[in-house]
Symmetry: C4
Subunit: 259 residues, 4 copies
């Protein structure tokens, strides 16, 4: 009768490894692929007039439904910047976090590859394969229409950094913080991505996510200022994790220390 | 006094048959009619500039409110692909599923017939009766504007397949899976349809639903590549059902086996 | 000591009359005014390109927040058609219902009056004072652009009837029906109005509400086919109330009869 | 052993001061900065055709996610008008309210400064630095196109006043009133701001918030009719607070008095 519980323990171990490592990693891989695939198709649908609204709703709402579906397995990051923020906040361990980031980068590349495969060259080139780049602003007709001006690299870094800082702060507050976490966190997270893309789509393309920028860059071969989409989001997310740890959740810690 | 409980049993049987078969089938019939009717009117409202946003919100939000209204009776499928996915996931029996599919096809045709009856010929023809077809892409003016290119049949199949795969996966996760089902599943399901239509409206028309494609095809007599809207969604939904059964919910099953 | 409870009873009576009659009626009056005022400003904002989306979101989201705010006092009808549907479903008594309808018509007129007062003549005339009327459809340029065609009166009646039927059915199911009522009914009700206006804005103006049509008709003096906006919504809502009573909620009644 | 509880009391005092004053004030400062920053970037994204929808969704959804994130610390006002309304309703004390307003004005100015720093002059000037001003209406082409007409100062005051009245009423009802407060108040508050901006964006710019108007006015040096954005919102919010206290919540008070 000693043998039986041992086997049970092995089964439990298997189940634990499956639940704690295998399934979360598959969820991040598939979830990121789905999330970025829907977003790329939505953002590049040839509807130039509404690009900010369509891009924002496509990526944001897509994130919302995939967090609702896969969040119970992996937390539903689908974004290396989010994983970095959660790492710094202390809610995930380093090894798992690195595996997540690897899966997200593979998922984003898979999405971009499928998008290339299923897009006509005309459509694909018009939006430069869904890649993020610094937008060239043209003076509107009623003001001359001649001067064109490009977003600077440091403006791009700051915009991506600031918006990712806000985005990851919202995620940490509604998903992890004890006093404000919500059972509809997926709704808030999705809406947060919507507005951050509304804000930045016509400036930096609205990435906030290295995995969302890397994949299309590979397949469309658009590498100009690509480093912006790594430095901005990752540094913004780190700041968000730090602020969360030392300002927003200090409240919880004080409470814990007194008890 | 034996007679009285017998009558009660008969009443209970009647009530059970009504609750389990008659009412669900009426709900699928009326629900699908309402869902597709609102969607067709919204997608064909002559607002060419915003067609993706308007079509997506019309079909997606319409699905949302009708699942909220009729979901407690039938589950609120309104889509043969969803019923196939739920069948494979094991949450409905075959006989009931086939009745659902029949009702959905009749409902979609009723919606398309009412839409024909209440539309002026001008409006009706402009959007080809709300039928789904492979869109012809024109090079934008700033890139020449001459080359026109049509989505291929295999691209159409893959896009419908992939998006239905994602759509049905979300439905199964938020409505059926024990660890992730939500009391606002109707919100997630509706939003999922929104984004899938944002992504595909300018390519395949964004069907994901044979009942939504069959009805308008009948009344507008648009049959070109119609098979795409059966093969893509049904195969995508089958894949989603299989993945759900063998990957996403295996977790639940392991837990059940150990207990 | 008999006197004291008597006073308490009088106070209780006063409180009851206030709670049951006075406050609900004020809530319907103010709520309808707010609802239609925001809707008129939103629908007539000179943004011709997006009129369906903007009109739908303005009226629908406005309804959503006002039901959330005033629904606990009056139920949040703000629409004679909704009150008729609820009357037939049996969830409100006739006298109170008639008072509601009176308040809604006054509220709609107040909103239209304030809208006239605060609008410039240019803007006001461009959208004909926010009045609902049968839209004239013009053949698009690429199809000739010459033929113009007006929605017929019977098409208008049918569209308003059908959409109000769906709208009121959703309201009854998510707010009143025991098996499907939801604590976020205001969300579903608002979204339901959104999609019904997406569907009909370019055809009948998307009223579904005699109070929304009466007020602007008075101040802008637009009475062409005005009867459509009474017959369609009221008949559609009556059908919804009847269907609810004899088909959708029969389930509840059977259950009740057996117990 | 007397010393130990004393120290504990000191710690408790520190924790209380931190929880009751320091953290709420930081939350209002950072929250207002984030809220207005996203809103300004979204409203000025060069997407002229959809300005009402994009501006409304950017400011409204941004408010929604920041209330969800910081509301548990400070209530999530981010708007001097809201703080005035809550003050009059009696749910916050004067000293704290004044500190909130100070933080909000600083936050709005920080947002406008960051926006100036990260915007190109072309984009920045096109939307006049995101400042709110009375819009000049031009007769549409099909009606002549010559007459241009500006919103009057008193129309501007009335529109801002009325919409803030509605906005703050909704906030008080869904966040504070015992009978109607909701656990998804942040959703309703965000949607309320969306529709109020849909309604007023093409007339007054849709402020409803002195902090949102002050910051951009400072950096873009646009002061024409600036007083409107203080008088309208603050007076509207005061009315909302008064109505709430003496009409909407009297119900609660009666109930309390009887018990």
């Amino acid at each position: 009768s000693i043998v039986v519980p041992k086997i049970t323990n092995e089964n439990e171990n298997k189940t634990n490894i499956f639940n704690n490592i295998v399934q979360p990693i598959i969820a991040e891989l598939i979830g990121t692929t789905f999330f970025i695939l829907i977003g790329l198709f939505g953002a590049c649908n040839g509807d130039n007039k509404n690009s900010s609204l369509t891009a924002g709703f496509s990526f944001g709402f897509s994130l919302m439904i995939l967090i609702a579906s896969f969040g119970h397995m992996s937390g539903g990051h689908f974004n290396p910047a989010v994983t970095v923020g959660v790492l710094i906040s202390g809610a995930i361990d380093l090894k798992k976090g690195l595996l997540y980031i690897l899966m997200q980068l593979i998922g984003g590349s898979m999405a971009a590859g499928i998008f290339r495969l299923l897009s006509h060259t005309t459509t694909y080139q018009r939006c430069r394969g869904g890649a993020t780049f610094l937008v060239t602003i043209q003076t509107p007709k009623e003001m001359g229409g001649i001067i064109t001006d490009r977003i600077n690299w440091w403006e791009g870094v700051c915009i991506e950094l600031l918006l990712t800082f806000i985005f990851v702060t919202v995620i940490l507050m509604v998903s992890i913080n004890h006093k404000s976490k919500s059972n509809i966190a997926s709704i808030y997270n999705g809406i947060a991505l919507c507005v951050c893309i509304f804000a930045s789509n016509k400036l930096t393309g609205g990435s906030l996510n290295p995995a969302r920028s890397l994949g299309p860059a590979i397949f469309a071969n658009v590498w100009s200022h690509h480093y912006i989409y790594w430095i901005g989001p990752l540094f913004g997310a780190s700041l968000a994790g730090g602020f969360y740890r030392f300002i927003w959740s200090i409240n919880d810690q004080n409470t814990f220390d007194n008890k």
